[in-house]
């Protein structure tokens, strides 16, 4: 696959692997985590979003829309989806960027060129590129093609994945990447189906495979109250990692509520709008469980 749909290329990224990195966010994800911080990543196709907070109500986009899909009321614009043809005239015409299209078709060369701009910074900090999502496993060929070229330039390649995909795709990325950042959310299958919309076993199996192949990986746990923020879940996670994988380091990620505006812009409900992030004390307790089980725990970039 020569092209991929990318919704963001974030330079100077410091949270997705070591050093200074460029994170390439791909669209399309098979999972539907209730807390997903990047709702714009879920669907594979480009999506139109309306940021009401940026809109000044000038109505210019309404006048410009060739399909007559937009209307202005109470100073804000509404869109009739059945009329919208996704032509993006509104995006081009808005001076305030109130309309935004998430997702751009990019070639391997486009991505490689963009990522190489910061090569000097990667070299000095042990950084590189991270392919994130969405789910990179869904675009394994595209990611592998980018990664292969970037590695030829000496760029370190990481893949941030939920590990929900085929063994073939996983193997493809294993051959092309240097590091996996694997999200492992909740161990209980029923909870996994409820909160994430899929069984947990395929993910566990892929983690076992990565371990068997000798892949370098860091397991990351997004901590969400009501879903996985329990001592039992942490103990089960540790038990699985210790008994069935070679991975002994995990990173805890505290859920945040910064994505709320994006849900609004995409006119989607944020299922956990009323769930509060865990307290620092609670995070410390969970970290402690993992430590006691024998894992090395990172939180906020530092070893706990």
């Amino acid at each position: 696959m020569k092209y991929g749909t990318v919704f963001n290329i974030q330079r100077m990224s410091i949270h997705d692997g070591p050093g200074i990195r460029t994170t390439v966010f791909l669209k399309g994800c098979p999972l539907r985590c209730a807390w997903c911080h990047n709702p714009e990543s879920q669907r594979p196709e480009p999506e139109l979003a309306y940021h009401a907070n940026r809109c000044v109500g000038c109505g210019f986009c309404v006048a410009q829309c060739p399909a007559g899909a937009l209307s202005l009321s109470a100073g804000k614009v509404t869109k009739n989806d059945s009329l919208c043809t996704q032509c993006n005239t509104c995006v081009a015409s808005c001076p305030y960027s109130a309309w935004e299209c998430y997702g751009e078709r990019m070639s391997v060369e486009d991505v490689v060129t963009e990522v190489l701009k910061d090569k000097a910074y990667y070299t000095k900090t042990g950084g590189g590129v991270t392919f994130s999502g969405g789910e990179p496993l869904l675009r394994a060929d595209f990611v592998a093609a980018c990664a292969t070229q970037l590695r030829e330039h000496g760029v370190h390649v990481a893949v941030e994945t939920a590990c929900f995909g085929s063994e073939t795709a996983l193997r493809r990325l294993f051959d092309a990447a240097d590091l996996f950042l694997v999200d492992l959310k909740v161990m209980d299958d029923a909870a996994h189906r409820r909160w994430i919309g899929s069984p947990v076993e395929p993910i566990l199996q892929n983690l076992r495979l990565l371990g068997a192949w000798g892949a370098e990986a860091l397991v990351r746990i997004p901590v969400v109250m009501g879903c996985n923020a329990t001592e039992e879940n942490m103990a089960a996670t540790a038990d699985f990692l210790l008994s069935q994988t070679p991975y002994r380091t995990v990173e805890l990620l505290k859920m945040h509520k910064l994505a709320e505006n994006k849900y609004r812009a995409l006119r989607r409900d944020w299922l956990i709008a009323d769930v509060e992030p865990p307290t620092e004390e609670h995070m410390a307790e969970l970290a402690n469980v993992l430590k006691q089980e024998g894992l090395c725990v990172y939180y906020k970039g530092e070893i706990v």
Binding site: S13, I20, P95, D118
Partner: protein, 721 residues
Amino acid sequence: MTMKERAELQKREAIDLLLHKSPQSTLTERWFLLDEACERFQSEPQPMMLGKGLRYILERASLPVRPCDILLGRYVDRVPSAEEDAEIAAIWKRRISTKNPITHPNTGHLTLDWEELVSLGLVGYLEKTEQKLATCAEEDRIFLTGMHEVYAAILHYIERYAEAAEAAGLSDSAAVCREICAHAPNTFREAMQLILSVFTVYMIYAGWHVACLTLGRMDNYLLRYYLADLKSGRLTEEEAGAIIDDFNCKANLHLGRGEHQMGNAAETGNNTGWKRNHTYDSPTYIVIGGESAVCPPAGNPLTKLFAAHITVGFKNPVYIYRWSRNQAPEVWETVCQRVRDNASILLYNDTTMIPAMEHAGVSHADAVNYTVHPCNWPDIAGGYAVTDKIGEPMPEMLMEAFGRELPNLRNADSIDAFYACYADWYRAKFRRHAEAFRAAYRSGEIPKRGVLSLNDCFTHGPLDQARALTDGGAKYLAVYTFLRNVATAADIMAAIDTLVYRNRVCTVEELFAAADRNFEGSPALYAHCRKAPKFGTENPIADAHAVRLTETMLDIIDAESVNTNGERDLLSLNVMITDMDHIRNGAAMGATPDGRLSGTPLSENLSPSVGYNESATALLNSVSALPFDRIHSGVLNLRLRRETVRGDAGLLRLQALMDTYFERGGIQLQVSIADTQVLREAQRCPDCYRDLMVRVTGYSTLFTDMSENGQEEIIRRDEMA
């Protein structure tokens, strides 16, 4: 107490004093003494007024001594009573705005020849002056006698300080003062005391109200004293560090509360709500590191010591670290740590600065030995006398040039016509200045005005020639050529190029007409303008225009700096700094084709236009593409989140950002570590964030001391991941 203990105690006191000093606190004593001195010596010629007036003031100045002092050089300031305040305001009006002959010539803004000072000592200057007086022309007598008075006045002040210290039980400090009254300094501590004494006299008692000073390359000119002391066992590294700490404390206290750019005038929009401190709100610069004829940068132990003693939490002195390819890695790491901890540091790049100075016509030796002009361009100790400042903000010049030629540009078939138009306009403008310069200085004879300043007393040249620096005593006559607001200017060119020629969205006429109307009635075009390529985002179109525009101007400057005989006879320092003028200048300008609305700020220093920061690396890559080997000043403000630089990994990231910027040819960099969220909280609760330091434009200030306008400017500089 050991020297280290004394220094540690002072450091704590110095931070505490600055944070808790009232913003209304001022040099009450100085104001009244100055007024008396002016009255008493008003019938004397100016050089004698300065000399005798300074003696009068220094003979009566208070001499505070704290038990923890190593070096001596404090002053008394306090909040004046309401009556005193009114009287000070009257004196301010009487003695400053009427060009007071004692303080007005002492405008600072230069590097004194500190090396010569420590090498000759005040006694050496006195002797040299006496020798000159014995053989001088009658017309030079008053000038030289005034100088003699100045040296004697400062010597007497130091003698008085020795007595005060002795009385306070600080025999060692007193002895050092007595030594430097008897001869040139022989030790590191004596040299530091002499510098502090002259610095204190200048800043506190004799300086004009915004007289910034640069103390030069202290790690170079003090090196021989330091090494000799170590070798003889007179001093340990720890003691030398304590002396540096002490010096930093005094410099920190010399700078009052308030913010350097923030005047009283409400019309500047920068009113802090309190009266500025009149005499002591100007930063002090110490230059360390860099290429040197004295010692290779990697092998200078004093650079290492100064770097290690840069105190976090002080807003003054501002340390200038000269980045060079030959620097010692461990010293650079120390500097990076201090930058990370938000210390007052500004970084200059030797690899562009030295060639840029040589390109302008400065000798190799002087270029290598550059220091820093407090307005943030390279200086030479006593080197430049400025004869002219050329240029308005680049966006203003572009719009004026295009406005005049719009009827012709209407039919232009490419952006090249705009460049040709601007080049013609700018060439004519620069040529007018160059010709005026040549007419004024063609004969090489500059009339002596006989006005003496402290600058003349402590720079090489004036004493030998009995003429002031500004009367031809300086080594180089220079003009400052402004290339300001480069991002807005590049964005204007990128917008014309993209919208008119590349994408054919509109005609030249439509674009300029829309800007004239502040885009009212043209929402579509406004959208296109805002979305046109912007400098600072590593957009190839915008970046190429920034380079092309800058090179167009530099080529004209180069060509016009050469006279008809083919000799370069005009030294142009090309500066891209804006200070905080981008707000004022933007307020006076109409809308521009890049989508900038009427009255809104122009781009700040080398930053992108407001709202167009994408990432730190994109910004650094964009800016470092500018031709800095012909540019002498242009600071880039980088505001980073604390999280980005936290821990060892964060330090490595910070170092990588700065190293890469300089390796790619960036020029100057100043970093503030401050999260937007924290700055907003500080606005809500200033008292909780008294010590929150930010870099403004070549200097530091406490965030909560800034006007609301200034605070918003800092917040506008988008934080980078």
